[in-house]
Each structure stands twice: as structure tokens, then as C-alpha cells.
């Protein structure tokens, strides 16, 4: 089978980092450790596992961080190399209860998938994202499908999944809608985790895929008093508005927007501008995850307010004085599982299916690329906002193109793991 494989290769990882710093996000892929390879089909890890043939697989911000060599070293021990990325996937199931059906994958590799019984407290409580055993059990370490060498990932023509990870896709769902379920689930979990009271003033920083999904989830699942989105690019601003933001401002305008919204006073900078607010919004959902976005969050959240990191942060530099002095809560929101809803516990993914359908999130899928054009795909994803796009996906639906060598495929060379790679 054909796959984009990411190897542990420190020099190339470093080269990717340098390239991304010098030339911009997405540029690391040309020199980094990702390669299009032919590999043998993966072994079934154990009972309950099935094969999945991906149809569409998204490129997410965490993937880009990995390809650019920007991801945190924190992940080193909870991934296993070589891995095949791709955790936003819709594919055809081969075997098991869903044999022959389309499914999306809930990628966390928790206790059940790892054959661990009794499960850890997180998994037992339905909080798969809080699994304490992601480096244990009969699988190699890997927090999710797409980061574990034993499972493969969506950027391929085949991978394996535990049946507990699979969610059948309704027949009336397009593949594009289905591939949006996983990012929508992240947004659903983040919004549910915040326990937003009606009338709260919420500011969403960033309007990429996750930011837009968060806006849609906020509108669908709670009743924020006012919802302000900070979006950089025109398409993002239009979509943010369409998906339910009351107000959409550009980066740099967030302090003024939050001040107006909250009626706060402000401390002035030397040029008469706003240095920071004395009050602010009740909740900031940081869907960027950078030092700048964290600082911006501190700038606009009120004393006693909350900041939720939804976008995957790496190593960030932050002045935590306001966190201390203003008693701000800072928390993360990762993955999915089960959510406490007024009607009772609900599966995050089921809520996500509803969100995708209700908000028509399939419209966020902007471009599809075959695996062979992965460099273009990654470049597009890295510049998505600027290019008027949101979600870029790999498209494996033309079965012939991905499975066999064609005239566009370069000669292969064997490697020590028994796989064959395309020569660079």
C-alpha cells in the first residue's frame, strides 16, 4: 500500500524546522522526514481490529507543526516511529460489524484499543482524551491513530483501527462532511468542557478549521451573550460570521473589540493606544496556540475569566503575571469522549455529527489532493487562510492512483524496515 510516512530522522527534522522558520510554514515538508512510500499492509494488532481504506483524510494544524519541526518534544514519548499521519479520516471499513460501510475514526488510542482491562480512570469515565495508558498495552506508544507505528494513519491507502474507534457515517453524509467530524468533535469537546453560562462574552482567537468549528459549536451548544471572532483573512471572516459570530474583527483589533464588548476600562500605551484591559471578556478560546495568541488572550480576558487552549500549543513564552494577579483560569481542551449535556451524557462524536450537519461544515473543505501531490497539499494547508481556503484533504478515492506505481512515481529504494521509499 502507499502511504506518507514520517520517520525519526533528527537531521531532517531539524532541516524542516529551519526551512519553516526561514521560508514559512509548510516549507519544511520538502526537506523533512515525510516521504511517500510503498509499505506492506499493516498487521492486525489483535481482536476487534479491522482494516480501513481511507477516502478522505484532512491535514490539521498539529500535522503541520509536526512537518515543520515545530511540535513540542513533549510528544516524543507518546508517539512511535515511523508513523503515518492522518487522524481526520473517513474511510471504508473492511471487516467487523461495520464491514463495507463508511466510517470516521475517533483517533485516540485509549485503553480499549490497547487491550488494557481494567481501563484507566479517564477511559472508565468516558474521557478517552485523558487516557493514562497511551504508551502502554499491546500497541506501541501513540496518543492517536496517525502517531502510532502499529496502526498507520489516514494519509495512506490503508490502515488499521479498533472497532471501538469507528463511527458509521450516515448515508446522506458526503465524504467531505464526514471528514469534518473529527475537527468538529474537538470543537464540541472544547465548548462542552468550558461549561459556558448563558450570556457570557466569548472571544474566539483564530478562524482556521478549529476556530470556525468552535464558533459553530458555541452557537449550536450554548448561548454565549456575545461571540466575537478574530479572523485574519477575508474568507475566514465571512465564514466566521456565517457560522454565528456576532462580530468579526481582524488581528490587532481584538483588544478594542473586547473592551467595547465588556465595557471595560483600559490602560493606555505610550502612543495612546490600548496596552491592556482592566476588565475583559469572560472566556477566550485560543484556537491558535502560539505565544502571541496566549498573550492576546491574557490581554482581553477579565479578572477571574477563563482561557481555553484549543489549538495545539508548542513551546510558548508567556508572562504569567496576569494569570496570577487576575486569577485567570488557563486550561486545555484536547480530543473527545463523552460530554455532559443537559439531556445526559453524549458521545462527543455523535454531537459532532449533528454539528457538521447543522452547520454544514462540509463547506470548510476547500481542496483535495492525491497523496502523490503531498508537497502541494501541505503548502496549500499551511497557506490556507491566505489562499482563501480552510480545510485541505488528501483524496484517496481514485483507487488506482494510490495503490500502484505509475509513471509519475520515482524509483524506489529499500530501507532497513523492509519498506520501500521513493527516492528523493
Amino acid at each position: 500500500m502507499r502511504a506518507l510516512q514520517f520517520e525519526r530522522n533528527v537531521p531532517r527534522f531539524a532541516a524542516a524546522r529551519v526551512a519553516s522558520v526561514l521560508a514559512g510554514s509548510g516549507k519544511g515538508v520538502r526537506v523533512g522526514p515525510l516521504e511517500l512510500v510503498e509499505v506492506d499492509p499493516l498487521e492486525i494488532p489483535g481482536p476487534g481490529w479491522v482494516r480501513v481504506r481511507p477516502r478522505l483524510a484532512g491535514i490539521c494544524g498539529s500535522d503541520l507543526a509536526t512537518l515543520d519541526g515545530r511540535s513540542s518534544r513533549y510528544f516524543e514519548q507518546i508517539v512511535s516511529f515511523p508513523f503515518i499521519p492522518g487522524h481526520e479520516v473517513v474511510g471504508d471499513v473492511e471487516g467487523g460489524a461495520l464491514d463495507g460501510r463508511r466510517a470516521v475514526i475517533e483517533p485516540v488510542l485509549g485503553c480499549e484499543a490497547r487491550g488494557i482491562d481494567p481501563p484507566c480512570p479517564g477511559c472508565a469515565a468516558g474521557r478517552k482524551g485523558s487516557c493514562e495508558r497511551i504508551a502502554f498495552g499491546h500497541l506501541s506508544p501513540g496518543l492517536q491513530t496517525g502517531y502510532c507505528r502499529d496502526t498507520g494513519g489516514g494519509w495512506s491507502t490503508g490502515f488499521v483501527a479498533h472497532q471501538s474507534q469507528l463511527h458509521a457515517v450516515p448515508d446522506d453524509f458526503s465524504d467531505e462532511a464526514a471528514v469534518m467530524v473529527e475537527p468538529a468533535a474537538c470543537a464540541v469537546h472544547a465548548v462542552c468542557a468550558c461549561k459556558i453560562a448563558g450570556g457570557e462574552r466569548v472571544l474566539v482567537l483564530g478562524a482556521g478549521t478549529i476556530g470556525l468549528c468552535v464558533i459553530a459549536a458555541l452557537r449550536a451548544l450554548c448561548l454565549p451573550g456575545v461571540l466575537v471572532a478574530v479572523a485574519k483573512h477575508p474568507t475566514q471572516r465571512r465564514l466566521a460570521r456565517d457560522l454565528g459570530a456576532d462580530q468579526v474583527v481582524r488581528p490587532g483589533e481584538h483588544k478594542r473589540a473586547a473592551r467595547r464588548l465588556s465595557g471595560s476600562l483600559a490602560l493606555e500605551s505610550s502612543d495612546g493606544g490600548i496596552e491592556r484591559l482592566t476588565g475583559g471578556v469572560d472566556l477566550v478560546m485560543d484556537c491558535v496556540g502560539s505565544s502571541d495568541s496566549l498573550q492576546q488572550s491574557f490581554d482581553v480576558v477579565r479578572p477571574g475569566g477563563r482561557i481555553v487552549l484549543v489549538g495545539m500549543p508548542g513551546v510558548v513564552k508567556a508572562d504569567l503575571a496576569p494569570l496570577w494577579q487576575r486569577e485567570i483560569e488557563l486550561r486545555g481542551a484536547y480530543a473527545y469522549g463523552s460530554e455532559d449535556r443537559p439531556e445526559g451524557p453524549r458521545s462527543t462524536f455523535q454531537l459532532a455529527f449533528e454539528l457538521v450537519r447543522g452547520a454544514r461544515l462540509e463547506r470548510l473543505v476547500s481542496a483535495r489532493y492525491p497523496l502523490e501531490h503531498y508537497e502541494d497539499a501541505v503548502a496549500h494547508a499551511a497557506a490556507a487562510g491566505r489562499r482563501g481556503a480552510v480545510k485541505i484533504v488528501f483524496d484517496m478515492r481514485k483507487r488506482g492512483s494510490g495503490l500502484d506505481a505509475s509513471s509519475t512515481v520515482r524509483p524506489r529504494r529499500p530501507d532497513s524496515a523492509g519498506t520501500t521509499k521513493e527516492a528523493k
Binding site: 462580530q247 468579526v248 474583527v249 481582524r250 483589533e253 478594542r256 473589540a257 473592551r259 467595547r260 465595557g263 471595560s264 476600562l265 483600559a266 493606555e268 502612543d271 495612546g272 493606544g273 490600548i274
Partner: protein, 529 residues
Amino acid sequence: MSPRPGFVLEVDRSTPATLIWHGEGFRLERLPVGSRVVYGPEPLAPLANSDQAIRHALDNPLGDSKPLRALLYPGMRLTIAFDDISLPLPPMRPPDVRQRVIEAVLDLAADSGVDDVVLIAALALHRRMTDPELRHALGDRVFEAFAPHGLLLQHDAEDPQNLIHLGFTDHGEDVEINRRAAESDLLIYVNINLSAMDGGHKSVATGLASYRSLKHHHNVRSMMNSHSFMDMHHSELHSSNWRMGRLIAESGVKLFQIETTLNTDTFPEQLGFLQKREWEWSLRDRASFLATSSALERMPGELSRRIFHAVRAPHDLTSVQAGAVEAVHESTLANLYRQQLVEVSGQTDVLTMGLPYIGPYNVNSTMNPILVACLGLGYFFNLYRGKPLVREGGVVIISHPTPWEFNPVHHPSYIDFFEQVLAETTDMFEIEAKYEESYATDPWYVHLYRTSYAYHGVHPLYMWYWCAHALQHLGRVIVVGGDRAAVHRLGFSSASTFADALELAEDVVGRDPTITHLHVPSLLMADVT
């Protein structure tokens, strides 16, 4: 030789290019043959002896007022209010006419043994003046005599302790003004009547009022029903102020009104070409124009702004009248029209105008996009009596760089209004209903208005309302040479050149439109028949 009256030039093949303001610069444009250019009258000769004329006006009041000296007595409370930084434009060479008038008033007060005197800058919702600005308006002697003792105040429309509600007009309008002014034994208001909008009952009813009072006439409906607000007899803005002014008088406030008019001698000699008719430019004028233009082109924007804002106009006094408000104002208008009125026959399809670097609300500051709109569509469009210069459904073409720039100290709420409100809607009624109250009562804006040098939070909305009549009347507004994003945010069209703008205009008014250019400087008022 007496100054020549204003006139309307019809452009022919021999007409030289027309000078058009473009912010902190100019452009020379060859207008299409057949276009009209409206030139204001030449500057009137100043009064031979200004100080004597002022004293004469104080001693010989108009209307049913007694001479000022007869109104002054020992032990009385005297308050002298005066127009703020928004007048005149550009700021005039010292001595400022306010200084001349106030010195004369204070001499009389001193002669009469009046020792409880307070000066108040009538800011309405404008920004506070800095000490140098106050010193410039009042002169060193007055400033030093009052400011160090806390007797030089600036009206604070957000200070409930120093406001007094005098009642309601028969239209239900709140009348709330400065308490010190209202409770004085005599209030003297010193005006500089640069345009026909200024003065009359508007001086006190607006300049010393609170938001609660101002909102009754500074609103979309009033602006749409002011045709124009430069013509008090057809201006809802003025009707409301007149009702309030009469109520102020009925409630016992004794007012002695002083109004002054200036000639249109607006620029110093080195910029003299600006106020000459182009075909009369001397060799020196041409050289000055070329040197100035090329220097400005090479100069950083901030530097050219500083240079222009340092210009002091050689304005001089052409009349001064004092006494009862309405009689005084009638005389003022006659004198103002003598300087500014130009007869224009018939309307035009396309009205063009070049906007200068300065308007009433950006003295020593930045002309932000909202102020560009206000100056063009509020002030210049309304410089008419009778009918607008441009026909209904016509087009206004504005020349101005319209930078997306704001002064965060002077115009903090303007930034928010531009970024957050105009991004959503330019509809005035929607803005008024949805945003006005929150902008007017925002505690940060209130804080900055009271303690810093910021215009009131609601001011950008008012400046937007100022455009209401024009926007209701016009088919399109085109800005030549403006920042495209800023122009788009205002809801206007952008054009790179005048020729492009005229082509765009033809989409609205048809082929071969009639074109009229409002030639400013000098300041004029078109009497359109």
C-alpha cells in the same frame, strides 16, 4: 480696490488646470470643457481697528440688550464662554479674535468691579484643549490670569455636578447645560462664526450642553431634515437649538452674545497660490506651487502633517456684533454671506471637491476616514442655500488620501466605530438604534473625554450622521486617490484618477454629465437657484 465677488467659471480650452486640495497636498486637474468651477469672493478688507470695533459692539448692542457695561456690577457672577479649538480653521495668527474680545470684556468687568469671573471653553462633546491651545486662543495675559487659579474651565458634558436641567422644550427636548454658566448673573458667549452653521442659539444650547440634551438635535432625523444645516431657516438642527435657546432664556439665564466674522484670508504668503484663481497665478505663485508640491511628495506623511498644522491663518475681523442672540445672529449671517455667498444657477450631475488636511475635529490631529466623510459630505456638501449644488441622485467626487489612520488619543471611539461598526453596517438608523447609547455611555470613553484629550464616545456617530442628508440625496460617492480599504469601509467607491472617477460617475448619472467643482479655498456658500 474692493474685493471681487465670487463667481462661477465655465471651463473652456484655455482654462488652466484647477488646483484641488488632496489632504496634505494638492493636485492640478484639467476639468472637462464645460465644467463649472465655483470660486468664493475674495477676502473682504478687515475692519480698520478691530479693538475699537469690539468696544463699539459691546457699547452698542443689538436687539433688546443693554450695553455690556450696564450689565456688569460688583459682586456678580460672570461667566465667559468661548468657542473651542474647532474654530477658526486653520487656527489664526495671534492675537486670536477670542483673545481680543475677551480682553475687552474683562476690561469692562474690571472697570465695573466684577471679581467673580470664570472662563469656560464651550467644548460640547469635543476634546479638551491643551494648555498651549488655550493660551493661543486667549493670549498669555488672559491665560495667566485665570488658568493658574482654576478659573479657566473646559465644559464637561459628563459632570453631573456641574450640569443643570432647565426643563423641556415644547417638543419634549431636554435642555441641560453647564451649571456655572446657567447660574451666573450674566453669561457672555464669544463666537467665531466661520460658517453659517455657527452661532445663534446653537452656541449655548450645543456648546455648553450635555449628551442628554445634544441627542435631540444631533441625530439622523434632524440631519436628514436640515437642508442644509448651513441655512438655519431650513435646518432642523437649528430649529431644535432655537427652541432650546429660547427655553434657556425663559428659565432666567441672562446671555450676552458676541459674534464675530472673519475674512477668507486663509493662508500665509508662501501658500498664497492656494487662494488665487489659477489663471492669475504669478510666476512666483507657480514656483511656490511647484516647490511646495514636490517637497510634500518627498516628505514623510507625519512631517507634512506637522508642517500644515503649524500654519496660522492671517484671518482678520470683518464684523463684530453683540447683544441679544437672535438680533446678533441675523447681523452676523448678513456679514458672513457678504464674504462667502456665491450665486450659482442650477444644480449639477457631478459635484467635485478637494478636501484639505484640516477640518473642525482634527486640529493638531489626524484626518481619519470618518472625518474625511464628515468634511466632504457633512460640511462641504452642505455649503449651500436653496438647493444642493448637486442634483438628487447625483454623484460627489472627493479628492483626499483618506488614510486608514487614527489619532488614538483624540479619537479612540472613532477607531472602534470604524473597525467594529462600519465593518458591519453603514446604515445610520441602524447605527443610531443599535450602537449610539453604548458609545455614548461607554465608561472608558467617558473617562478619556473627561480626563484626557479625547472626543466623546458618541462623536464619531455624530460625524457619520452629519453625512445623512448627503447620503440620502446622492447616487454615489467616489473618492479619488484614497486608501481603498478605508474608502470601501465607508461604503464609497474608489478611483485612482479624476478621469476614472468621472467614468464611474457616468454609470450613475449617464454620459456627458454636468460637472461642478467647489473650489476650496476659499470657504464659500453656494446660493443655488
